[in-house]
Symmetry: C2
Subunit: 279 residues, 2 copies
């Protein structure tokens, strides 16, 4: 018996309440969470009014969530938690392509397109040829790799954010590599955009003196039998927001020089090889 809860014994008292036979991982995670939550309250001597604000903020964050909006993911993203979880779970050897945040705009189950397909269905934006290979750490091609790509439109919105404006599967595609591990498809050069900032997270960013923008990027999800899943972006070099991505997703190795192309219908070329690591 620790005695009743006090400011001094608070963490031990709460954690001692857990049952003897609970899942050990639940015990580990929740004990650490209680420790850090209590340390936070003590560090800043959180006031009653601030606590009430926090309760209200979290409630509003939950209540704005819908099938099209995940405000808690935005909160996690903007506080760097999503990128940190990604980092601790995806440490890779030098030479491997780095992971970054998945984001809320992937759509599973899209149609597989033939190589060369133009995923830009609304015909708006600067056309770009994306090409490269999916290889292993030795540079050997990986056949049968499934590549999902998705980007925003020229207006800075994903198709799922504008279901009544954009064609379904606009700026999205799925491709499967052949024996040479190569891929190529047409899309647009993506543009920088603000994350949805008309909710509690937007209010938080204002209070923190931060902008809501992400630098332009093309999303990739690449899965191949026997290899670690790769979730990443290719960022366009020169973007205004590369050094201040509001979700902290940028890594140096993922910044690519989009090359200007002289031609009638294609303005840009983005060449990038993805290097996967065996499981």
């Amino acid at each position: 018996m620790l005695g009743y809860f006090t400011e001094v014994n608070s963490v031990e008292t709460v954690n001692a309440r857990m049952g003897a036979t609970i899942n050990p991982r639940v015990r580990q995670v929740m004990s650490s969470l209680v420790g850090h939550l209590h340390a936070f309250v003590k560090d800043v001597q959180l006031t009653q009014e601030e606590w009430e604000y926090a309760i209200n903020f979290l409630t509003r964050t939950g209540q704005i969530c819908s099938d099209e909006r995940q405000e808690f993911i935005l909160l996690s993203d903007t506080l760097g938690v999503s990128m940190l979880v990604d980092a601790v779970n995806n440490r890779r050897p030098a030479g491997a392509t780095e992971n970054t945040v998945f984001g809320p705009f992937h759509v599973a189950g899209g149609p597989v397109r033939p190589m060369g397909y133009n995923v830009n269905l609304d015909g708006r934006g600067e056309k770009c040829l994306y090409r490269g290979r999916v290889v292993d750490l030795q540079g050997e091609p990986i056949a049968g790799a499934r590549i999902d790509v998705w980007s925003d439109s020229v207006d800075g919105f994903y198709d799922v954010q504008q279901p009544n404006i954009q064609p379904k599967w606009n700026n999205r595609g799925t491709f499967i590599t052949g024996e040479d591990g190569a891929y190529h498809y047409l899309g647009i050069k993506p543009v920088s955009y603000p994350i949805p900032d008309d909710g509690p997270v937007g209010q938080m960013l204002i209070a923190l003196g931060r902008h809501p923008y992400r630098p332009a990027h093309m999303h990739y999800l690449i899965v191949a039998e026997g290899y670690q899943k790769l979730v990443t972006h290719i960022f366009a070099a020169g973007d205004t927001y590369l050094e201040s991505d509001t979700v902290f997703g940028v890594k140096k190795s993922l910044i690519l020089d989009f090359k200007k192309v002289e031609g009638d219908s294609i303005q840009w070329e983005a060449a990038f090889d993805f290097v996967l690591v065996r499981r």
Copy 2:
């Protein structure tokens, strides 16, 4: 420029993003929060699946909230955060009555009742005479102290939880002390009850091997001009859950022996003096 976000520089990178001219208290609170959140993720090496579970848990917690239900307060209460915030904000000299959690069931603006009034309007439960004085640290009576009292019914529910079953203001009252600082009123001896446990917090308590019960208690909110606000409970000695209150609200000084009374209509007497501290 710190460079791009990494596992190592994550806290500094996120906090360096804050604007130069923001509110200093916002900076202090949010910097500490980011530090502790990131330390938590690193300590437990939170997996992607656990992060997804957390996002989903928080979302469900927000979405079950309504005018009658505040699940984030329950979460804060059951993790000891509410009591800790209360503790750091209400350090009092020896002899002063201690604070405890406010809880979600207070209703402001109730009618003021004359001393001796019976707040138990449904006529169910064991009748109890509550009496005592509101005094300062020197034992001098405090006149004009406004005393709000509220308790659960004999079935373990507050009136606001059962608006169609219990009379309005059942087991609630407001009293104002005269020159002698004394108070007395009739109510019932409260009973222990589970906090609402059919939502995410209830699921968490099960995973932690914990029960959802609070020991029987009478709530008090006492305000008097020139004195610190007192938010507290009187707990009934002998209750099964005194040492395992699911919200950690019990303090030794707040446990009272309810005295058995021989009589026709009143079964108990609860005598307690409240000692306020000057602002």
